[in-house]
Each structure stands twice: as C-alpha cells, then as structure tokens.
Subunit: 345 residues, 4 copies
C-alpha cells in the first residue's frame, strides 16, 4: 500500500537523521537552552527578516496552538476562526480546555476575510449585552488552510489591519507553511508573515522533521514569560536540542524550501493528471493537498493500492478525497498513481 | 417609563418579602443547611413527584449552568445546545472557562430535536478522527427556550430517549420554567421534567424571587459531591436560608404557578392586541415573551413611554422586539400598552 | 440556642430590609447598571478618598476572590498567601479551578510579612529553574485575617512596597473589613486600603447585608473588562440593584461603621470576661472573633445553650473555640454569655 | 566540561537511533495507531504481567502528569503529594492549570507514608466544613523520588491499601523508574507497580530514549476515553511510531534494565569514592542521583571540569549538590570524577 492520505506518514529528512546521529552523544543543556536551538532561532529570524522577534520550539501543532492562545488571551476573550479551523474541529477542545471559546466565522474555501472579522467585532461592540458575550481577542488562521488554500498578501494585510483596528492579535497556524511558501500561486514571504502576524508558527512535523513547530513571536507583550507557559502546557521538551538540531538543518542552505518545492511539484503532477481527465475538485488550491471528487467505483479500485483520506460525500456515487504529497513522497509513487489514474478515469 | 424589556426589573413577590422580614433576625445554620432549605426542597420534590431526587439552591442562571456542567462532564466532553442557547451566547464563555466546548446545533424556533442530537452523536462516533474531536456528553435545552417556545412532552421524551441511547445527560435550563408550565399550550409537568431530565433547574429570579434557582438532580452519578462543586464555583450562599425561604414561599399553596399564570394571562392580552392588528411575529409562542415585528415609526413612538428590547432587524423599516410580562407586571400597564398599540397600529 | 459560631447567622440590618421593601416594585435596569448601584459606588469611593477607583458589587467572598484573581493573573502566575488563607483552605480549590496555584507562606497569627513576600520573590527569581515554577503575581491578605488579627498601617505599607518592587498586585480580602476598621487597635483607614492595595473588597455579607461584597479596584490594568469576568464567573446578579441598595444603606450616614463598632464593643465585653478569669487565647486580637482556650468540661456545659465553633485541639482536655459577635448580636445574649462564663470559670 | 547535573544531557541509546534510522522512510498510520506502538505495548504489558492493562505513550513527564490527573479527577478533587513533588514544584503549575489543587504532605526523604495519606483523608472527612475544602482524589508518588529514594514493596503496598480504603487513585511518576528497578535496594518489580498502582508511567526520556513516557493504566475507569484527553492536552504525537519504536527497543531483550543497571553501577562507584572520604550526604539513596555535601572550595575546583547541580545550602561553607549518572554516562568520566574527588577530599 502507498499512503497518500496525509503528510506525516514517514520519519524525517535524511539530513535531519544524520544530524541527530552525529550529535547524539554530545552533552548539552536541557529545555531548549542549547547552542543548536540558538543557531536555529538565528537562522529562522534571518529568513523572517525579524531580528526583534523571538522563536520558541514546540513539539506539535495542537500543543502549539493551546500554548499560544493561553499565553495571549485574558479569560473572557475568544478566538475568531474559520468554522473548519483545526482548533475548532480537530483538537478535542484544547482551546476550550484552556478556558477560551472559539468564535467561528463561516469560511469560504477554508478562509475568513478581514470584513468578517470587522463585522464580528462591530457586532460585539454594538451589542448592548456585550459584557455577557465572549470578547474577540485574537484571529486564528491557517496558512495554508485545512483545505490547502492560501491567503494572498492582500488578504493577509487586510486581516492584519482589521486586527490592529479592533485590538486583536493575529495568529497564523503554519503546520504546512512550507507547502504554502513553495506554492506557485503564493505571494506571501516568511518576512511578510513576521511583519503582519503577532505570532505564527513554522511547521516542522509535516515538512521534513520528526516533529517540531517553530513559533515566531513578533508582538512584545506576547513574548513576556512565554517559556513559563510552554512549561505549564507540558510542551517544554527536556532534550530541547532535538528541536534545535532539526530546525537548524531545515533552515540551513534552504532545505525547508527545497523539500517543500519537491512536494508541490509532485502535487502539480497529480493535479495535472486529474485535470486531463476533467475530474472536478472539492476545492481548488495549489499546495500539497489535492481534493478530487471521484466515483465510488474508482475509489474502490484505487483503494487496493493506495491509502487516500475521505473528505466529504458529494452525491450518491461520488466522494471527495484528500491526496497529500510531502517532502517524503517518491517520484515513482506519484508516477504510478498518475498512471493508474489515467488508466482508470 | 414602563419596562417591558425583561422579566427581572422588580424585586420579589410581596409574600417573599414578608417572609424574609419575618425571619430576618432568626439565627440559622449557613450554606443551605437550614430548616427553610429543607422544607423548600421537600415541597419541590413533591411537585416533581421525585422523592429520590436532590435539590440544590443557587443564586443565578449562569452560575447554575456553569456548576451543573462542571459537575457533569469529563474534560473532553462538550454540551450539545441550540446555536442561540444562553450558554452559547450570553454567558461570556462560562462553559468554556470551565473547560468545555458548546457543540451547537442549528435551532428551529429556539429548539433542537432528538434527531439532531442523534445525528451529531452518530457523526461523532463514525468519524475516524473522533478522538480528535470533543465528545458530546450532555444535551442542554431551555424550557421555555430563549424565544419563548416550548418543547412538547413528545419532543422532550424523544430527546430523553436519544440521550439514553447515546449516553448523554439531559439538562434543562428552566430560568423561565414557571412561564412554560403556565402556558396554555404546555403539556409537560414538573413531574415529567424530573422523570425525563437528568438535571434541570426551576427558575426563581425571573419568577417571583429576588434571586435563586432550584436545581433538581435525578441522576445518581451527578448527585455525588455536588455541594463541593457549588462551593468551588463560588455559588454557595453564606446565608443560604434566603434561598430556602424564597422557594418555600413560592412552592407553598401554589404561588409559583399562580404568579406564572398571571404573567401568561397578561402576555395573551398583548398578543391578542397585536394579532387584532395583524402584526406579524418574529417567532410564535405562548409564554411570557412576545416578539412582534414593528415599524421603526411605531417603535419610535412606543419608545417614549415603554422600554422594549431590540431583538433583530427584519428589513429596512422594521425590527422585531421583545415584550416581556412577568409575575410583577401590572394589569394597568398592560392595558395602557394594549390601548396604545391599538391606537398606533 | 444562641449562635456565637459565626457572623452570618441572621438576615440583614433592619434599615437594609426597609430599603429593599421600599424599592421592591420599582423597575430598574439589570446587572448593576441602576441608580442604586451608582450612588452606592459614589459613597464608597468618597469613603475611600479614591475618585479614580472603580467599584463592583458581587454576591459572596469565594466568588469575589475567584473573580479578582481570574481577572488579574496570567496562567503561569500564582498568589502568595498565608497557609491558613481562606483561598488556600476554605474555597474548595476555586483559585486552582481558575488555573492558578496558591503559593503559601507560613503565617504568624494569620499574617504574612513584606519580608516573606520579598524572600519568596527573590527565591523565585534566583532559582535557575524559575520557568519551571509558578511565578508569584499577586499577594493575597485578609484584613482582618482569618484569626481576627490586623495588619498595621506600617505592615500594610511594607507589603505594598514589596509588591511594587516585585511587580505583584496587592489584594486584600475584606470579608470582615468593618470589624477591622472598628477595632480599637486599628490604624488603617479605608483610604489607606485604597491607596495601598491594587484591589480589595469591603465585606457586606458578614457586616449587615443579606449578602454582597464591594470590590474596589484602584489599579488601572485590572479595571479593564472586569465586568466580563464577573459575568463569566457567574457573579453578575440579574437584579444587581439589590447590592446597590444594600451598600447605599450601609454607607449612608456611617451605618457600616456604626454596626461594626457595635460588634467590636460586644466582643470586648466577652474578651474582658474571659481575661478576668485568666483564660488564655489561641490568638490575641481586637476584632469580632474571639479564640479562648477552654476546658472540655466548660465547653460541654456551654454547649447546652450556645453554639460556638471548634477551632483547634490544644491538649488532652482543652480546645480553642471561636466566639463571634456581629452587627446582629444582641446585648442580652452577650450579657448572658459573660455571666455564664464568669459563673463557670 | 563533563555534565553530571542531570540525566537528560545526551540523545538516545544507539540501538534506538539505529531503529529510528532503519524505519525512517516506512509509511505508518499516525497518532500511535501503528504496529510499533502495538508491539511496544505488548512487551511492556508482559513485563508488567498485566494483560488487562492499557499502555499509552506520551512525550514528556509534565505532559504525562497533567494528562493523567486531568483524566482521573473531578473538578473538586486534589492530589495528595510530597511537598517536594515534581508536580508541586517544577511543573509551572500545570496541575493547577488543569483545575486541581496539589495537597501537600510533608515528605521524609522525598517519601510520603500511608499513614499520612490516611490522616489527610480522615481530617478531610471529619472536618465539618469538608465541602469547603478540596477533596483528596489521588495520591501522587515518584518512584524513585526526586531525592532518589525508593518506596519499598511494603510501603507501596500500604499506600495502595490506604488508597483503596479512602477511594483514592494511586499514581506513580516513574520518570526514573529504570534506575529504581535496577537499584540494589529495590524490592518492587514492574509487576508490583502494575498490581498496586491504578496508573503509573515508565520513563523513557531519562532512561535511554530521545523522549517518551509509557503510561500503564490498570484501573478500568481511567482507561475510558484516555486518548481523547491525550489529544486535548496536546500530547498526541503525530508520528506516534517514534514512541513505539523507542519503547519496543527499550523493552526488547532487556535493554531498559541493562542500561539502568549501568547507571546504577556507576553511581555506586561515585558513592563509594565519596564514602571513602567520609563525605556526608544530603539524603542517602541507592539510585542514579547522588547528593553529597561538599565545601565551597571543593565545589569551586570541581566546577572547572564538571557541571553539577546545586541542591541546597547546608551551612556557611557547604552546599549539597546533585550528581547524576545515566544510561549515557561513560566509565571514563566516572573514573576521572572519582579520581578527582579522591584527590580533592
């Protein structure tokens, strides 16, 4: 079986494994206070063109979201997010367990707009009973979104302006950020992210690392005591250097972008094969997740060789599925899939 | 100005004030362990025909909801509720502050159905990623709802069956329960509530008391240590007898139902006056809240003498407003309003 | 039986009951946005000589403590408090339920010192692992303390200085503040409290009211959105005017101090009777709580006519008990008690 | 510099690194639902002689403690623990952030006794105000303790009996469990742990793994929905197989015990060198942490070559320090240290 269902089926990029091996018996300070973390942070800040920012390494996405939100909000504040946002749907209520409500906005292809944010804030402010309601304190977006779509620089800039206007923090979940940055349609750089967001994270787990997310904090208020919150959330890795070593490897000599482009190139091949056969898509995007709508018959046959992920039922005989590529996806696997798709469709 | 905007504009029924005065300098045990509380509980259990149940007195609705939900759910569980439910919209995220997500269902005239509950549970169970999602652990309804509508005995029975089937607790917020019980359309008794719900509360604040809600717990598991949770939630009144005295008065000689019927009779008069003039309603109901759709012009004129509550904008020249009657509403006030409405419309 | 066990055995001062009766059928805005609350706040701010401060009314002490602490601290911060502090021992973990640790200091006669606070902060700062420890964010004291002792103006000033130095908020729980202010040994005024504390509350429940505590916030940061937190904590009374009416009555024409002095005068009588007989005290103080150490034999006999509160076992044949006076204590009850004590001892 | 300050200065045992490399590009299911996790669980259950138990893998200790406690306790319950317990001192209030109070007992050499547990429970039950106090719901111990001491089988059995008697869960933090099991003084087996505890964890981070703790749950109630809580706590690793692979390696062919014995043998050498010179110990123990009391002069000289951890100030010229050995400690490093100690002392 070949797994195309998600982008975390394998271990880590071989260069990371080499570095982990090479440094394995070195003795370093714990909890991220080692030299590897320092250098990795430096490399990331350079890419972000944000020397004033802070970087922290955490292990996984849900943990990172819970930590950032706990650090950022007072108890009566909530997070504006797309209805399909990861924090709203797939984190077993970690945000609520931390005491905060997710205030959902109806997303369009996974995205929310500055206008929706502004309207939500105005509605709150203008409601006589607003003290009886959760106050919006943050906007959470994913770049790329759960559906693989991207905020354009214009959209992101407008969101940042709305956040400034209504005193909200802007937080971007970049679990798949590499695949967004590498997309042919993308016009947002890491430096833009750092300039426009109060905090965002650069995903490692899905982009070449064994695990790990790099949180970049540009907002001074949020920097204060952030490491206490990391520890409280059970998110401070004893051997923190494991994260430093991984991110140092990813951000040295452009590896992060190189492997992201690899995934995007393969995704484009699969997309082209599907387009050739006029297969419709559940949502159009240009990142590493592809959402074709296929017939049950085709899916049955594909299911013998490939693991795809069910996304949504479309009609009596069709479903949308998710096909993911990643840093680890092999050319041959993609060629075989394209070949089989062409044959089948 | 005459206030028709809500049902908590005045103090308490005169009989309650008399009892409070009469007992004022008596010395009793604190924290609800006094004789007045005991007797009030007894009277309530008799009305509920539920000798096996437990009664606890709390001060207000948000506090009661937060306490019941905290006592009932494990951390990963959420509460299924109407999207317009008080706990979802008007409690400043108290449920989330307690760590739990409100899982919203699209309500129809304020109500949710057993079918919606069943579908939500099935969707949860059948989702491969259900461990990544909040598990439904309770159904929260209001009787009457925020929009003054009522669950019929059939609907309530079906909800209770769905809850049994999917291992959910059924909790009814009865902030205005008296006005539901007194409605001409109602077919649910207090005994039905006790039989069908795992826990519900009988509202005092809006039905004759200075403050106070009587929580009736029928589910044995939920009874355990409930007073610890009350205390932890800051909801254990030092002079608990104040609640006992009030509820004893309300449940002696049928006062609770008598004053509820008074409110309903007056609401019916206002409704009749509006119907006479073919005024449409935002939602039809038979309890103490009336939601007529009136023109801006009419609302402007009414606004000189009456305080009504804005509910929703309907079109460019019309809004729905809320008119409430209560145990405290005077006949003359209602007659004046009906007269003015008839004149104006 | 005559209850001397605590100071919340009766209802409210008769003037409060009269005002509640008098205003009972008035219609006012809800949630503390009425004229009675405004006037009560004004009166309190005048007594505090703190026109810049904010006043909020809540129902009870545990609720007030939980609300103030939730509003004040970020998640990784804890509250320094005496080991016997109410928040540490008698609130069923309400502070922890809100996410914060109580960091205990060994109290001396119920009190903690500026030096202890400073040492705790220094120990935290100097510990290399301080990010792994709860950061002190607030000092909680009671004035008077649980043991009826008082912070002198000098002690309170030193605490405030230590708090400034180490960036801590100073919060005083004044559940029995009136009895402190009225004590012959006291040298701290309400204006001192307002000047030295970031936030404190003036207790009503134990000093003449049916219920109610008036929170005075002088720190600007803490003022922000405080009403949201009140609502979230289930502490916003629908008929908020009940609190306004009570505090307006207490702070008009000096009633609060008058009834507090009454309690203190009676306490002094009981103390004198005990001193006459050379009865030792568990702790010496000058407020409304008296802690004599009595023999089992004496306690047995007293137990037939009086309810006292057990405090601590002293030796094989003696226990310390608590005798409370209050605004409601009658002269005759005290005379009878003094007489019986004199006879017995 | 040679680090003897803690037991997590290096990466992982070479066999673990080999397995991670070997399996790196395999595709597996995520979130711990892979074959490596299954096999690792099987191996652990066999060692525990507890086929009925459940095993879950988490990343670190604080995370594991927070998850277990969140899963186990209702909101009003607290955890009885030694005053020096890791959850009380070094987890930035993670337990409190989850809503629960740590109820401390004065430890003797890091340990608490069944008698102390019983007394705490009796004191709670017998206090008239127990509903105003946090109810003990769990006993937390560390095996070995923070001070490297061990509970004997007799002590552990008595604790388990006290827990049964008072309806408490018994939870053992086994961050350094291997070093306890390998100690010459130890008489507690893994099977004893499984038989006597409701839940405990077998530490990997400090015993050969890059990271990872294996939670063993024997109590049926606690098993329910545990994975939801893991996810909610941000503790579910996307590439869960990393944990499975590590624990499979550790529990195959006795590697876990073998490397633990290595650490203990080296610790014994250091202890012997210190004893030879009549150096006193801050606490006597037989595991991998050694706490000698050394003079400032000696510590200064040692500080040029070795990193030790400060433990406590003993007198004007002496401090206790911690010297740790681990699976990774080299023979030569220990020989050099022993040699230098012998020279210096």
């Amino acid at each position: 079986m070949i797994y195309f269902n998600c982008d975390y089926n394998e271990g880590a990029h071989e260069k990371i494994m080499q570095q982990l091996l090479l440094t394995n018996m070195e003795q370093t300070a714990g909890y991220g206070c080692d030299e590897y973390c320092s250098r990795a942070k430096q490399l990331i800040l350079e890419e972000c063109k944000a020397p004033y920012a802070e970087v922290h390494f955490l292990t996984g996405g849900t943990q990172t979201n819970a930590t950032v939100i706990a650090a950022a909000l007072r108890p009566h504040m909530g997070v504006l997010a797309a209805d399909g946002a990861h924090i709203n749907v797939h984190e077993t209520g970690a945000v609520e367990a931390g005491g905060h409500k997710v205030l959902t906005l109806k997303a369009k292809e996974g995205k929310i707009s500055a206008k929706q944010v502004g309207n939500a804030c105005l509605a709150h402010i203008n409601d006589e009973a607003h003290e009886h309601m959760v106050r919006p304190g943050m906007v959470y977006i994913s770049q790329p979104t759960e559906l693989g779509t991207l905020y354009s620089l214009k959209e992101l800039t407008e969101l940042a302006e709305a956040c400034n206007k209504y005193h909200l923090l802007l937080y971007a979940d970049g679990a798949r950020l590499g695949y967004g940055l590498a997309s042919p349609e993308n016009d947002v750089t890491l430096a833009d992210m750092a300039r426009l967001c109060d905090v965002f994270y650069i995903g490692g787990t899905k982009v070449g690392a064994l695990f790990g997310e790099a949180v970049v904090i540009t907002n001074d208020t949020l920097k204060e005591d952030f490491r206490y919150i990391i520890k409280q959330q059970g998110a401070m890795l004893a051997k923190g250097r494991l994260l430093g070593i991984q991110f140092q490897t990813l951000f040295k000599d452009g590896l992060y972008m190189e492997i992201s482009r690899h995934a995007i190139a393969l995704a484009e091949k699969i997309r082209a094969a599907l387009r050739d056969k006029k297969i419709p898509f559940y949502v159009e995007n240009s990142t590493n997740q592809i959402f074709p709508i296929l017939s049950d018959k085709v899916l049955d046959i594909l299911g013998k060789d490939y693991v795809l992920e069910y996304q949504a039922r479309i009609d009596d005989t069709h479903s949308a599925v998710r096909i993911c590529t990643s840093w680890a996806t092999g050319e041959e696997a993609v060629e075989k899939l394209c070949h089989d798709l062409t044959d089948l469709l």
